[in-house]
């Protein structure tokens, strides 16, 4: 047994870790040798979706082989432990790209499917699951299920966004999209309040594939922020930038994110970026994954770890709900480095339990200050509940069960597809088993 933490480092429960590195052996391991457990990819979920305290974790990162890539059609078949980074580095030089990626590329294909992750281009291309053509799933009773949007679509809808609870994904087929170069034409636009943000977001949906904004939640004067948008450039051919990686070398005894550091940091970041506002050509890795070169940055929150709070609320209520949440945060004096605010497009997700839905999503990190932080979350929950929104399980470690049930109306339907041999900290907390 050894301790395993998720990205938020809130706890370090014991697990028996079983490495899966041969797809030919997965069935026998999960159905006979270690017949109950949970798949675990890169552990980039913040809370307990990827943990199974006191139980088995089937570690999937050894399933890291490509199976086929057709560069005429952009069809990629690979094992579920392949990292999105390795896909990008393989296919971008050959004219293709993953249509959707989250804010870090250090996640596995299996993890990206199980959380049906979204990126900055939701309004155009939806979430990760929209581009998956086929999944090979192994259940703990030994059954093998091949599913996709057109074959066994019910299994597919349960597994995309299914939090790893329907079986072990061993293989997936993904439709990539064309891209001419690894460079993006981008614009950064400072804004002074939420109205301006919504104007920019709405006004950018048609012409810009990628949109996101950083919002300063501690300055107190309005809700200033920086709106960023980008499109892949056809014409740009430049030398690849040098890759530099830094590692957060140790866990400081107290969180480095505190009331002393927060305001000056946010102000400095805002002013730095503001001074660089305007157009720029940016490499895809620094545009999509700005944090990936600072390895283990999650340590800076100190030994007690941190929470992320990510909600999505329907568009009609979105403006008021966002304003109210930012108000609660400012009032509490808790806060977070720059928060991320973005609109989701008007489209239904493929997965029964997928997080994205039409509306506006706000995501912030909070150092763990126990009761104080949880109290703030209760006030934010009330706003999300009132607005008819939901919270992202991939980022969650504490949402109340009633809010989960209200936010995910297809939960009941989903439960029929659960694999009885699989459970997680999250499933025990929110689904009772």
């Amino acid at each position: 047994m050894r301790t395993v933490s998720s990205w938020g480092r809130l706890s370090a429960p014991l697990h028996r870790v079983v490495v899966l590195n041969d797809p030919g052996r997965v069935k026998s391991i999960v159905s006979r040798e270690y017949p109950s457990g949970l798949a675990h990819g890169m552990g980039r979920s913040y809370g307990d979706a990827c943990l199974n305290p006191d139980g088995v974790l089937w570690l999937t990162t050894g399933l890291d082989h490509f199976i086929a890539f057709d560069d005429k059609t952009g069809r990629l078949v690979c094992e579920a432990g392949v990292l999105l980074r390795d896909i990008q580095r393989l296919v971008i030089p050959r004219g293709w790209i993953l249509p959707v990626t989250p804010g870090t590329q250090l996640v596995t294909v299996g993890g990206a499917i199980a959380n049906d992750v979204h990126g900055k281009n939701h309004h155009l291309l939806g979430s990760f699951g929209d581009h998956v053509q086929r999944i090979k799933l192994i259940r703990t009773d030994g059954e093998i299920i091949e599913c996709g949007p057109h074959t066994q679509p019910d299994w597919f809808a349960a597994t995309v966004g299914g939090l790893g609870l329907t079986g072990i994904i061993v293989e997936a087929e993904i439709q990539l999209r064309r891209v001419a170069s690894p460079w993006l034409q981008t614009e950064t636009i400072p804004y002074g309040d939420l109205d301006e943000f919504f104007q920019l977001a709405d006004g950018s949906e048609v012409d810009w594939e990628h949109t996101v904004s950083w919002i300063d939640c501690v300055s107190g004067n309005g809700n200033r922020g920086l709106f960023m948008r980008g499109n892949f450039s056809d014409s740009e051919q430049r030398p690849e930038p040098k890759k530099r990686q830094l590692v957060m070398p140790f866990v400081p005894p107290i969180s480095l994110v505190n009331s002393l550091s927060l305001r000056p940091f946010n102000a400095a970041y805002y002013n730095l970026k503001k001074s660089k506002a305007g157009s720029a050509i940016v490499h895809y890795e620094s545009f999509f994954y700005p944090l990936d070169n600072l390895l283990e940055w999650n340590r800076m929150y100190g030994p007690k770890g941190f929470f992320q709070y990510q909600s999505v609320v329907p568009r009609e209520a979105g403006q008021d709900a966002t304003r109210a949440m930012l108000g609660e945060i400012a009032k509490s004096g808790e806060g977070s480095f720059l928060a991320v605010l973005k609109t989701f497009g008007n489209r239904q997700p493929v997965g029964m339990m997928s997080f994205p839905r039409p509306g506006v999503t706000l995501a912030l990190d909070f150092p763990n200050k126990s009761a104080k932080t949880l109290k703030l979350f209760e006030r934010m929950d009330a706003i999300v509940r009132e607005a008819g929104g939901r919270i992202y399980p991939a980022k969650d470690a504490r949402m109340p069960r009633d809010l989960f049930e209200a936010g995910y109306p297809r939960l009941h339907e989903f439960l029929k597809y659960r694999d009885p041999g699989i459970s997680s900290g999250l499933s025990r907390r929110l689904m009772g088993a």
Binding site: R2, V4, S5, V17, T61, H65, I67
Partner: protein
């Protein structure tokens, strides 16, 4: 006939070997022959390299690694087509020391697969390389071969055999066009499991080890410690006097 670099991997499903192949194949078009014990597992490696490098020519061969006649035939067949540029002999398996101490059959198998088998392959390829007066033969040994320790001396003695053998081969080929590289990896992590490790010593990643090997081969270095810090560590361990060494629980 083609002018791609010709590379043969024995034990192609070993994680270290696979990552070396990924690096070689991404640098230039290669003509690869992958030799392994399990047909399905070699095919998996071949498909992966094929997806990564569409220009690569890939051949797979399945073999019993202790069957001398089969090894001879397979190597002759591979070498007769065209001179081989690099042969990487990477197979092996880490036995439980305990099992080896309690079961002579387990002990024998550990010695054969980690010691004898690599030598048979090396010897078979060496003959062809000598004739062609070219090629680099890379043998994967281990730091465990540098000094016998109670925690894994059966494995260590098999790797010690590989070490002595590589020395002899280097002596034989000194001043010729044939190079012999002995690689000694330290304990290696499976890819990307670092976040699972409890605080404490971090093991080297397979990617890093593979990079050390590929660079060492390019330079034709006779002994490659991977990562390089193991050269110093093993120097110290080898020279510890017994009265200290015997107190260590290693």
């Amino acid at each position: 006939m083609n002018n791609k670099q010709r590379i043969v991997i024995v034990g192609a499903t070993s994680a270290i070997a696979e990552h070396c192949v990924r690096l070689w194949a991404q640098d230039q078009p290669v003509d690869l022959t992958l030799i392994g014990r399990d047909a399905d597992r070699i095919k998996r490696v071949a498909a992966d390299i094929g997806a990564r490098s569409p220009e690569a020519d890939i051949h797979v061969t399945q073999l019993d690694f202790l069957d001398t006649a089969a090894i001879q035939t397979a190597v002759d067949e591979i070498a007769k087509q065209q001179a081989v540029d690099i042969v990487l002999i990477a197979h092996g398996s880490l036995p439980e020391q305990d099992a080896c101490q309690n079961d002579l059959q387990a002990c024998r198998e550990a010695l054969e697969i980690n010691g004898i088998s690599p030598l048979l392959f090396a010897e078979a390829f060496a003959k062809h390389m000598a004739k062609a007066d070219s090629g680099t033969l890379v043998l994967v040994g281990s730091v465990a071969g540098d000094r016998g320790r109670k925690s894994n001396y059966v494995y260590g003695s098999a790797k010690g055999l590989v070490t002595r053998y590589a020395q002899g081969l280097q002596h034989r080929f000194a001043g010729t066009g044939v190079k012999v590289v002995l690689v000694k990896p330290g304990p290696t992590d499976t890819p990307m499991t670092a976040h699972l490790k409890a605080q404490g010593a971090k093991l080297a990643s397979v990617e890093a080890i593979a990079k050390n090997i590929v660079d060492g081969v390019k330079r034709g270095q006779p002994v490659v410690y991977a990562p390089p810090k193991w050269r110093l560590i093993m120097l110290i361990i080898q020279h510890l006097p017994n009265f200290i060494f015997h107190k260590l629980n290693i």
